[in-house]
Symmetry: C2
């Protein structure tokens, strides 16, 4: 941990090898056997309501397999995994990212009792934004990050700035030059602030895109430095790159990219929709943190979602999870959760280095309803296996057309009901007959109109889309993901799979360089025939 944080009460380094030595693979636990058996034999949906009224939202698990026996088995499984101690370690800032020897203390960033250094940095950023607001500075903000440092800001800006903001915010993430070209096109450089986000200040995408923006500012006859801000854990590198000290904000070393929404990465959010939004997000997340820490397991929303997720994935075999926010403002919630979930749980080796033995994190995908209904719900209803769905809706809208909102809510409830209930062959045939079809055609067509039903879902209802409820929602997903990591016994905070491709890419970049073509006839050996072919053909 950085010496800068002597005032933050990080726990002592745990003995990692000791915990690895005592780790029991999931499939050797009798509690796993019991949980899997109960999940398999439980009815797909019961007619019993299963609600949790959590801070900022209501979780309805009626659409998942649920029974007292399954819940008891889930609690026993969590005990066998020492879940409560693991949760305490997470919330106390101990080293939970064991393969990288780090804490994952994003909850600290939103804690009411955050340490003075965190509060002071937050205050410094807020004051900077308030000064910019008072001076009506920066009509355009170009946010240059990627992955975790990109999706959170996109999410908050589209959620609370969906009808436009006085500052126009553009997002540039991809190394593809068309991204930065399009991101800068048409902006007035004199009125543009470029916000660079890179924890290490070495990530190719933000640094290359940032360099193009710096050139663009200089070409307009401006001093780029005054138009640049940076969010990083390496302020020294940002200074060397040309960002003035007063416009560099700290990204703490103990906060992962996929939790960086809670850090100064939200500078662009504050510029677009106001610092009060950040405060609301933090308050909602902190309330969910407290719920996660304190609520009994059976009434603990993240825990219940995690148990349902493990049952769906590792017992019932569902390979993917669909996120269906019935709110057009939440389109970016899908990639946000996708990144959070898949980067965390896209691993198949447990902390002892052994294969987990059951399928782990699903593919996460989705789209706001009702668009999704006209895009892929056909597949959800009648495809070979469909997918579990997390439906998300807001009780109240922020527009003035009640009939639109009624239709939106009804569509959400109806799709959910259709996925649960299905439609039998007899019902389908009766429908055909009711449409005056002749019996032979009705017999032939009816099977095409059958819906198997029984598909699992959660329904999450927010009172309305406030910063508080969105903050609670994001923390719900974070803790759901953490809890699944504990059950599977994997480290949800590392990302070794992201590194390997970077190393290979560095080699291929050099081989694609025309200078390499001039000095060497063929690319370096070691590639397969197709990669060799394309390096040769794309060179130049």
């Amino acid at each position: 941990m950085s010496g800068d944080f002597a005032d933050i009460p990080f726990a002592a380094m745990p003995d990692r090898s000791a915990s690895a030595d005592t780790f029991v693979p999931l499939t050797e636990l009798p509690e796993w056997e019991r949980f899997a058996r109960e999940a398999r034999t439980c009815a797909p949906q019961s007619d019993a309501l299963d609600l949790i009224e959590a801070p900022g939202l209501v979780l309805d698990s009626s659409g998942q397999r649920h029974s007292p026996a399954l819940m008891a088995a889930g609690e026993a499984l969590l005990r066998a995994r020492d879940f409560e101690a693991q949760r305490a370690r997470l919330l106390a800032g101990e080293v939970v990212n064991v393969t990288e020897d780090r804490a994952a203390w994003h909850t600290m960033l939103r804690a009411p009792d955050a340490p003075p250094r965190v509060l002071a940095e937050r205050e410094r950023m807020d004051a900077w934004v308030r000064r910019a607001d008072a001076g009506r500075r920066w009509r355009h903000v170009v946010h240059v990050g990627i992955g975790g440092s990109d999706w959170g800001v996109r999410l908050a800006v589209s959620a609370f700035g969906y009808a436009g903001t006085w500052r126009e915010v553009r997002f540039v993430a991809n190394i593809d030059g068309h991204a930065i070209e399009g991101g800068l096109a048409g902006l007035d450089p004199r009125e543009t602030l470029v916000v660079l986000v890179s924890k290490s200040f070495t990530t190719a995408e933000p640094l290359e895109n940032g360099a193009r923006a710096r050139e663009w500012l200089a070409a307009a006859g401006l001093d780029p430095a005054s138009h640049l801000a940076a969010i990083t854990a390496r302020p020294d590198r940002a200074r060397a790159w040309g960002v003035p000290e007063s416009q560099i904000f700290q990204l703490w070393d103990w906060v992962g990219g996929r939790f960086s929404l809670w850090s100064a990465v939200s500078l662009s959010t504050a510029l677009a929709v106001g610092v009060d939004v950040l405060e609301g997000l933090r308050a909602g997340a902190a309330a969910m943190d407290a719920h996660f820490a304190q609520a009994p397991l059976a009434a603990n929303a993240p825990v219940r979602m995690a148990l349902a997720g493990v049952a769906n994935r590792s017992v019932l075999g569902h390979g993917s999870l669909n996120i269906a926010p019935y709110d057009s403002r939440l389109a970016n919630l899908v990639p946000y959760i996708q990144q959070l979930d898949m980067e965390s749980l896209g691993k198949s080796v447990d902390v002892s280095g052994q294969p987990v033995g059951v399928p782990t994190g699903p593919a996460v995908w989705g789209m706001p309803g009702t668009d999704a209904q006209h895009t892929f719900f056909q597949w959800m209803h009648q495809g070979s296996d469909g997918a579990p769905v997390d439906f998300i809706l807001c009780r109240e809208a922020d527009h003035h057309w009640p009939a639109h909102h009624r239709q939106l809510l009804a569509n959400c409830l109806a799709q959910r009901e259709a996925l649960m209930r299905g439609k039998t062959l007899a019902q389908a045939r009766a429908e055909c007959v009711a449409e005056n079809m002749d019996p032979e055609r009705a017999d032939w067509l009816a099977p095409h109109r059958v819906h198997p039903g029984g598909r699992p879902n959660h329904l999450i209802v927010l009172p309305r889309l406030s910063p508080y409820s969105l903050g609670a929602l994001l923390a719900l997903y974070e803790h759901r993901v953490f809890t699944q990591g504990v059950i599977w016994g994997i480290d949800p905070f590392d990302q070794w799979g992201v590194e390997y491709g970077k190393v290979l890419a560095r080699g291929i970049i050099a081989e694609l360089d025309p200078a390499a073509a001039a000095t060497r006839d063929a690319p370096a050996p070691g590639h397969d025939a197709s990669t060799r072919h394309w390096i040769h053909r794309l060179r130049g």
Copy 2:
């Protein structure tokens, strides 16, 4: 078929029940057994190049299982499915949508010898756009469609207008009132054209959103009629709704929503990026149609992709397909293919009404690289099962930073290579040791850095992102989907699963109405407990 089309040489109605009678379920075909056996025993990737130079693009299947024996088995399977005759029926406009008794003749819309009525309607639309261009009319276009009538326009506009267009185009699809509120916010009504798309002119989303736009125009003191255009198969209804005759364009009855990019739905595309783009798209698609019709099966790009898709899904068990365009301009290609593929193949009953017997269409999802690398590629590399990937890239960029493009291409090739090749435990351990780790820690950490590899992929390379190459790419996917439908024996052109939820929604809309609350205490029976609960709680 509409009497309007007496001049179009539609084939006579086939005897549907006769073809159903002779239909053999897939799993009863000895050719299926053979194909499945060859696919299972074939090596994941060979070091032999496997390229098809098709119109507008190159398809590299080296990353799929491929061998002469597997290809021969695939050809035999296609013969057993009477593929060549089915393909001929599709391209001749015969009834291939058997459950709805309709043709699916989108290829006709781009055929060089399209019938006079099609050409005349196209010319009428082009002339209308040219007049608007000449008069510098409509600074803002609000495109109001959903699903198939929305994604195609979004795709073309972001592909060719990525750095901005002189007309600003907004898209409003969702019934969520925030969508139309945000879509109209800040626009000048006097300069705004609202383009409504609905084939039946009864779809709730475009009609409700269109009504809000009409009110907005009227509230500005304008005559809404002159600001409205409509694309529909029911011009009578559009006229009755208030759209002037001269601004109504024909959506042919024999063109499905997911193929409507080829119709007058592209009016908004033409207004944004020019009618020449439409011409290029059609030329590329027509060239791919000819390739699909004529190329030998082993060198036929859509056919090869279909065989690989069936092997991955129905033999090797991959539940999803990832689309990874390494081009930020193609972000909307993902939902476009998602809709095309999942609405077409999200069915599990064959044309004889029996279960297909093997898993059919996968979940289709994705994101442009390199964003995807920072979002979910962790899961692709090290998750339990990953997903087959279609990598798509352009040899030449349209920006002026060769180093960016080199990095983009290198990242694509590197991710693909990593997914194919993997990294063994011995390699991972050697890496750890090379990083000066102590042997005990290296032993412990190495398993976390293993990549299994062997994951299937296609690589599709366009010379550059021209309308011609994009048109060819879209037709490639259309025909790949059609061919998979033929192999599985399903009707890829219907969408019964979309209808059921609509019916349920109508009932719940009425139950949510406060007027209903006033007259009835409880919602209609027949709902499950959770749906009942939420109807009660959300009412008002």
